[in-house]
Each structure stands twice: as C-alpha cells, then as structure tokens.
Amino acid sequence: MSDDIEALLRSGMAERAGAAPTVDDPGLADLAIAGAGRLRRRRRVASAAGGAGLAVLGAAAFVWNPWIGFGDGDRDQMAADTSTVEVQDEFAMEFVVYEDEAYHVFNEDGDTIPLDVDEPTSDVYKLSTAYLWETETEVWTASFDGQSGTAVERPSAETSIDVNGAGDQYLMYTPSTDYSMSDYEVTNLSSPDLSETATFTTSAVMTLEDWDASTVVFTTDLHSSAAGESGEWYFNSEYDLGLEAVSAAGYESAVLVDTTDPNFVCVSDLDAAGTASGGEQCGLIDDEEVQAQIDVASGRNSDPVPLVQGVVESYSFDTMIEVPELDLGEYEGEYNNASSIWSDPKGEWELAGNPGDETWILIDSSGETPVVSELEVPEGAVQPVLSYT
C-alpha cells in the first residue's frame, strides 16, 4: 500500500506541477533587487530611529536596545538580548533543561522540577494540573511539583497525543491496523489519579479536533454530500461514523465541521449512553438556530458554541492572517538554520533554535507587530514548555 501511495504521490505531484501556469516574467529578478533595496533602507531607518535611546516594543514591554552602527549591509544591526527572567515574567515561560544527566523543567518561578524520563521524544506541555510528555513507549503526566507522576503505555508505535483547547484533558489517538478506524482514549486531568478516561472508536474519515466534558468536535468531508444545504442529514447512519461509541463514552453531543466549508456544521444529539440521534441537524455556524441546537444537544452542561467556533475558525481561510513579512535582520540566518521551531499554544511567542545553544531567536507576537530578539535561555535548555494555562 505504501508503495502505491508513494507512486501516486510522485505521479500526482509531477502532474500537478506540470499543470502550473508558465512563468514568463523577465522583471522577476529586478523586482527582487528592488525589494531587497527597500528592505535595506528600512533597516537603516530603523537603526537611525533606535539610536536615540531605548524603545519599548509591544505590550510585553521587552526592552529592545537600539541597533547600533550605520553603514553597509546587515552586519551592523544589533538587537538586544532578552533574558530568561523577562520571558518568565512576561510569558510565564518555562523550559525543559538537561542538567546533571537528567531532564528537568525550569519553571516560571525559577524552580527546577525533575522529569522522570530518559528523554522526552515530543514537546512537553503544561496543562491545567500537570505536565504532559511522551517517550517512545509511554505517555507521562507529572504534578507541577514533580512529586507524583503517572505513566500510561502507548498502545502502539503509531499512537500520538493531543490536548484539548482548554488544556484540561488529553487524548491518545491510535489508528486501527487498516487505518479505517480511530481509537481515542481521553483522560480528564482533573479526575483523581487520572482515573477518569473515556474511550471510543470512530470512523477514520473524521478527525477529532477539540472537546470538552460534554461535546466532541470532529472535522470531516460533508461538502461532497451536503454541498452546504441546511437541514437534517444522516451521515452517521449512512457512513457508520461511530457516533454511538462517542455517546457510550459519556458525551452529550457531537458536532461535525466540514473541511471544505468549515462554516457548515452538523449536530448530533447523543444521549451519553450509547445512542446517537437518528439524523444530524446541519447548517451554518453563524445561524442562531444551529447554535441553539449545539447548545441544547450538549445538555447545557458546558459552553459548546465557542468550542465549535474555535474549530471552525481554525479551518477558515479568511481568518488565516498572513504574518507580515518580518525583517529578521542579522538573525535571519540563525532563524533559518534553527533545528526546531516552537510556538506558544496561546500564540504569544515563537522560538527558533537548537537544543543546547545559549541563545534562541524569540519572536514576540503578543503585540500588534511581531518583534524579534535574541533570547538567553537557561543553561542546558532543550525546548520550551508549551503551556495551555
């Protein structure tokens, strides 16, 4: 099967690229040359403006030391360091450090929390009540003081983890051997000893995107069948989506978001006991009637509409705001050569760097305009902790 898919990819990509419009723009190089000239001039202006003193950039109030020096090219730009303490204060940023042949979390208060692990093989997350990380064979959670930890065996090598938007639950996702079904095991971190888990198996044509205590939100292809037509549809019964299993796991409702037009959603009212509604009520997420259906289907045990809207927004092209071209200045090379790029779950910062380096590149996105600086990271830092709190 893999060979078939690889052959399909090779031929498909060649065909697709071959169908691309022909490029015949003799002015392309001159446009690039002119654009480069504008960039250089902008940097010089910025340098001159910065020379008068300190400039406080963005809401996070990082101190951006003036670029110094004038003259030719990019070498004359200098940006200030941002210290570990500053990002701990401003972003509550924490780091995973390797020290004394062991991994620790260097938390926002400057305390060191041991991680009982040989080597995390994934990002390390800070959720509502615990740290979460993966190894090759297990998924670990640990209390914030590091005093207690729980390991759960990964069902297979293909198991991956995901965190819900609220950061209070995580799941292990495992595809079936023929990739036709998806097994989910959801753990509620607020339950004693992490004993509260929900397990269900659904069709692989759906992808679980977010969830809370009563509502699960999947994305799938609705457009091919419904083409945006509102009303009652029967996706679950016709496609054997497996929403009954979601119901049996204790959920009150399931919302399907169309991957082609994410504003089009379908609501299935579950009874939290193994039964799904006969059909799904479908319509646009902005429709008050649809929102009321989502609300009612959840049993009003939570606030499901924002949950669904978050998934809709994340799939909506018109909300994908392109980051303005960011002039990385002298850090462009370091940024492009970074082996890892980490992004804050809350979207306030991005880091690019190499584990073990003394400095990483910080892009502060908390203000209206992204700001670049060089961040001094704690000794032995291998990655930032990605926090949902």
Binding site: E6, A32, I33, P175, Y179, E232, T259
Partner: protein
C-alpha cells in the same frame, strides 16, 4: 552603480531566469494556489538577493534559495496558533479533456489530504516525491534532523493511507447520506 554590483546583479538575473520556474512549481505544490506561490517565490528571491554577495560564488545558491522558500512558507500563518492549519483548498485545475475517472477521484482525494497536512509534512512530501531529494538533503534544506524527516514523512503517509486506504472513502463512492424530506 559599480561594475562589481552590476555584474552581481546580472548573475542574479541569470539565476532567476534559470531557476524561477522550478521555484514556482515547488511553491505551487507547497501553497496550493498560484497567487500565494508567486508571493512566496518573490519573497524568496528578495531574501536570496540580500545574501547574493555571500552565496553567489558557492555551490549552494539553489540550496540556499530552497531553504528560504520552504522556511518562509512554514513561517507564514504560523502566528495564529501552535497547531498547523491547512491553507486554502487546492485550486482545481480541471482537465476538461478527460472524463471524471477513478484516477482523478483518487488524485482529488490525495490533494485534499495534502492540503490539510501540517506545512512541514507537506514540505517533506514535496521534497521527497516531487524533487526526489534524499532524506539527508531534505533535512539540510528544512534544517531538521534526518529522524524528523522520517517521522514527518511517516506521519504524512500514515494519514494518507488512512484516508485513501478505503477505496470508497478515496473515491467518494460510498452511499450518499439521505437528506430528510
């Protein structure tokens, strides 16, 4: 303009003339639409020109440009969230000379899947299956480890197998869901 700069600019123009079509095709596969691909290539060429005096005499001009292309694409839209998001649906460039066939249905399903992949996975697929790069070359271009290349490719292929593995799902030939009267 000095003769040296004029000469360098001329070299850059020659490079662009020789390679821009290939960059555009890769950008088209990465972004899924031509307008964004053009923006991406223009940005890439501007950045490449900024470094031209350093890289023009090396053997790695094209590798540098490609690294810029792939990393610039990865950085766009990154601000929104830590979760990678699909870009817009791939434009359909329908071949009207051909009937709708099983072949094209599978291709369509494949492109829908590629359009929804995280950008790094999509970049790995384009480099591996369109540009026929080795994993080491892909790692060099993307600035990641070979292990990460393998894992990203593995995840992308697993997802594709999941999506295309069921012929009915791939072809969209399953029973149409009824709509209530």
């Amino acid at each position: 303009m000095s003769e040296i700069k004029s000469s360098q600019d001329e070299e850059f123009r020659e490079y662009v003339a020789a390679r821009s079509a290939a960059l555009h095709r890769a950008a088209y596969l990465l972004t899924g639409n031509w307008a964004t691909a053009e923006d991406l290539v223009q940005t890439t060429l501007t950045k490449t020109y900024l470094a031209w005096s350093r890289i023009r005499t090396t053997d790695s001009v094209d590798a540098y440009a490609r690294r810029i292309l792939y990393n610039t694409n990865a950085s766009w839209w990154r601000k929104r969230s830590n979760r990678e998001k699909p870009t817009e649906v791939f434009e359909d460039r329908v071949d009207h000379s051909r009937d709708f066939t099983e072949h094209s249905a599978v291709r369509d399903a494949m492109w829908r899947h590629i359009a929804a992949l995280p950008k790094r996975q999509r970049a790995v697929l384009v480099l591996r299956y369109y540009e026929n790069r080795t994993d080491q070359q892909i790692a060099d271009i993307l600035g990641i480890s070979v292990g990460t290349v393998k894992s990203q490719a593995s995840r992308a292929l697993a997802g594709m197998r999941k999506r295309l593995g069921t012929p009915s799902a791939a072809l969209g030939l399953t029973m149409e869901p009824r709509k209530a009267a």
